[in-house]
Amino acid sequence: MADVKKMATREGYGKALVALGKEHDDIVVLDADLAGSTKTGMFAKEFPDRHFNCGIAEADMMCVAAGLAASGLTPFASSFAMFASGRAYEQIRNSIGYPALNVKIGASHGGMSVGEDGASHQCCEDFALMRSIPGMVVICPADGVEAEAATKAAYAYDGPVYLRMGRLAVPVFHEEGFQFQIGKGEVVREGSDIAIIANGLMVYEAMKAGQALAEAGIRARIINMSTIKPLDEELVLQAARECGKIITCEEHSVVGGLGEAVCAFLSENCPTPVRRIGVNDVFGCSGPAYEVLEKFGLCADNIVKVTRDFLGK
């Protein structure tokens, strides 16, 4: 797994917007002075007449997107996850979620891997915020290729979608041409001693952990659960029944994210011991991305440690 190609999920998002823009003239893209960072700048270059910078005004941007969607266009509105989901939460809730408008929110720079910018920009609460809005689809792709496919799937879907992307270039393990299905998880490694359900950049960390565990004789099933809502309940249920123990991994707070979604489902349908790996209800800090991730246990080594402890092996 050493020399894998790397690409940030935001890069896949930008590529998909350009591809979609060529095929569909109903697509318009909004940004809040971060077009270079969110990668909507790629779309702006190709389609300057359909890219609208809203300035540093995320609240206005989300409602402008709502108005565009109410008038027959398909807007993608982008900013950093912190400001898209946090600053504009109530605008998304009331002007996009409540009327169920066809707005796609492309949020980049999610999670701890923002790195040096530190806690003010390390959004680890967006899954919780967005999941709580009725009808909102929440997706966090694991690599650039999946992000590209997920963006296209979000366009094809009629209704509000929150796409969470990262700043960091991460290993690509999906094949080019991968087709994304909203609400469908993906088993990326077979096993039945334990199931590790992850999303975002934690999927690759879980895959590395899976390899290390295999060398120690533990066969872990690794699942990429990129759609947090709606959750692929069938796949979770199957993993619980066949593996008996579950670990969730996400670059998000343990409060309100993938881990809680899995726990909530299992506790009502198939009570199963679960351990959650995520940000333990604390704020982040500055530092190089991988050092920050390691400090907060968002890495393969910690997944291995938690797994062995959980299994008592």
Binding site: V28, D49, R50, F52, C54, G55, A57, A59, D60, M62, C63, V64, A65, A66, G67, L68, A69, A70, S71, G72, L73, P75, E90, Q91, N94, S95, Y98, P99, A100
Partner: protein
């Protein structure tokens, strides 16, 4: 505007006011004060200004209206019902369980409502999006939005004003209902939004300042709005909160309180007398 047109609009406005009083009385709650201050504007919009079709509320090329001050839904609903978007008797179901007439406008349940609103400051941005969509799609419909003078304390309103001006939305018209009162009292004392017109001009709007209860002034302002190119238009209208029901006028206490049975009878008697006078009976 002919004397006959003026008389007709005045009659309709009186009926809109009766609809507001009836529906909030039936609901035992709601927001009559700001609905009544904007009743003449609702009337003018739906009976003169807006290019809409009650038989085809979703018609693609219609003019759009976004009630940014969504709590004054009783005024909007009364105007929509009188215009034929839905039966007038349904106004009595306002705010009741399973009614499509929600406490604040819902675009997916009420025919003629173009945007779900209620959280102040958001409607104007949504309206900007609709106006921008017309530009992108090469459509010539116009977009109107009505805001409260308390509502413009929301920072988002000014983000939207920057946006409208930056993208030269000359198909966009923002109307500010300057009735001078918000829930906690005088807007100037709670958090002064004044001078409103100067602020809007500074943000790039052409502004008309009018008496919001004078149909001739409303007509002139909308006429001027259509002549302006390359910049958005705003109408700052001075109004009386509770206008038309004497005991509700200029009293912040009537912002969000419904009339009881006795008050209802008094209000309806006053409006009925006014209607009879207007109809020359």
């Amino acid at each position: 505007m002919t004397a006959q047109q003026l008389q007709q609009l005045s009659i309709t406005a009186c009926k809109v006011r009766m609809g507001i009083v009836k529906s909030t009385h039936a609901a035992k709650c709601g927001h009559p004060g700001g609905s009544l201050s904007a009743a003449d504007m609702f009337t003018y919009l739906y009976f003169k200004e807006l290019n809409v079709d009650p038989q085809a509320p979703q018609w693609e090329d219609r003019d759009r209206f976004v009630l940014s001050k969504g709590h004054t839904a009783p005024g909007l609903y009364a105007a929509l019902a009188l215009r034929g978007f839905f039966p007038e008797e349904d106004l009595l179901s306002l705010r009741k369980i399973d009614s499509y007439l929600q406490g604040h406008p819902n675009m997916n349940t009420v025919p003629g409502v173009d945007m779900s609103t209620g959280s102040l400051g958001q409607g104007i941005s949504c309206a900007c999006g609709m106006a921008l969509a017309a530009k992108v799609r090469g459509k010539d419909y116009r977009v109107y939005t009505l805001l409260g003078d308390g509502e413009i304390q929301e920072g988002q309103v000014w983000e939207a004003c920057m946006f409208a001006s930056h993208y030269k939305l000359d198909n966009f018209c923002a109307i500010i209902d300057n009735n001078g009162l918000q829930i906690d009292g005088d807007v100037a004392k709670v958090m002064s939004p004044y001078p409103i017109a100067d602020k809007l001009e500074a943000f790039g709007f052409r502004v008309a300042q009018i008496d919001g209860h004078d149909f001739r002034q409303i007509e002139d302002a909308f006429r001027e709005a259509r002549t302006v190119k390359g910049q958005p238009f705003a109408i700052v209208m001075k109004t009386v909160k509770g206008k038309g029901v004497s005991f509700m006028e200029n009293d912040a206490g009537w912002h969000g309180v419904a009339p009881n049975d006795q008050q209802y009878a008094g209000a309806m008697a006053e409006l009925s007398a006014k209607l009879a006078e207007l109809e020359g009976k």
